[in-house]
Symmetry: C2
Subunit: 214 residues, 2 copies
């Protein structure tokens, strides 16, 4: 009987290699290769059918092509592959996005070796795994709470980024080649849209949603 093949994707090379070493100690599992980001994975997958594993262990925060985008790509092009998210993130929105993108499991990086093995076995044999946290989260997400995904337009994002600097709205207007009054509008729209009270609220939203990185 052949082993299940695994690919590890994480921009922290040491982590991905360490996990590789670890997974290789598991009976039944074997790491094919590791990737530093989503782009590398896409290249590998597109290279040869032999590069397509049974399971992908995927970090979320990565440069170039992040975990969510990459999972979407896999879901579209190789729907048989099981993606398990592996992240330090545990904020609700991120988890939900990852699951929506098609991940069939979600594991925090502060779990035990044994838990990872158990999760891999479940995925390989049953096709799913969910930690307690995630199960609770899913319950919450289903019951009520439509969540109304907020979509920002390009200019709003640019504005938001500038609002995270020490620039004055007047100066932001100059940078964006718009009248201060227009900026006034952007700001007020976002106050309502993002449900915040003032500029600090904008800044916090931008940071939490990775629109601006301090």
């Amino acid at each position: 009987m052949t082993n299940y093949s695994v690919v590890v994707v994480d921009d922290h090379t040491l982590l991905s290699q360490a996990i590789q070493t670890m997974v290789n100690t598991f009976e039944k599992f074997e790491v094919l290769y590791t990737c530093k980001n989503g782009q590398e994975l896409v290249n590998q997958f597109s290279g040869s059918p032999e590069n397509i594993p049974d399971i992908v262990l995927m970090d979320i925060n990565m440069p170039i092509l992040n975990g969510i985008e990459t999972t979407e790509w896999i879901q579209k092009n190789h729907p048989i592959v099981n993606v398990m998210a592996l992240s330090v993130e545990d904020d609700d929105k991120t988890v939900l996005k990852m699951l929506k993108a098609g991940a069939i499991g979600y594991l925090l990086k502060d779990t035990e070796k044994s838990v990872l093995e158990k999760a891999l076995i479940e995925i390989a044999e049953n096709g799913f795994y969910h930690s307690k946290n995630v199960t609770n989260l899913l319950m919450k997400s289903i019951s009520g709470n439509g969540d109304e995904e907020i979509v920002l337009k390009e200019k709003e994002i640019i504005f938001l980024k500038l609002a995270c600097t020490e620039l004055t709205y007047k100066e932001i207007a100059d940078r964006m080649c718009l009248s201060p009054k227009t900026i006034d509008g952007y700001r007020n729209n976002l106050f309502i849209k993002l449900n915040v009270k003032n500029r600090v609220g904008l800044v916090m939203y931008a940071i939490k949603n990775k629109i601006y990185t301090p």
Copy 2:
């Protein structure tokens, strides 16, 4: 000939266990145990002399007792132990603090397995290791740039945290049981002290220095 003993400290259990597995594959090295935070390490060290390793691989961001504090403790109580920092952080201040605390090396988590092994060997045999990044940083830090460590008092920190919320300065004053005018003073002092122009500057400083976590 006996192996060099290593202890891995990281709050991400999966990472510390994965690194444990990896280090155990290195000839000459052997992991004694892993810890989830500094407190655990202190307990282990204080438990039995057999628990004291040659090398500690230490993460920086940890709850309870962080990497810098833990390194200081080790430096004070077990100065023979070599601490190597292992972190995703690469901002100058953090690295310098870690080195000042007594770490003899600094490795980013996105390095290769082979680099880790090489670093461990250097530490074990020569007693030091520095990645290129760190060497450059040290050069910068020595040449000129006194850096003037900014020290904030307790109340300034409380104020700074509140300034990161959507509260009005008036409301912050209430929370801190101070007059709005006093808050005015705190704000203006911090503007000068932190070299920022407005509230966004305060927020950014607080976040960058982990005084406030979004």
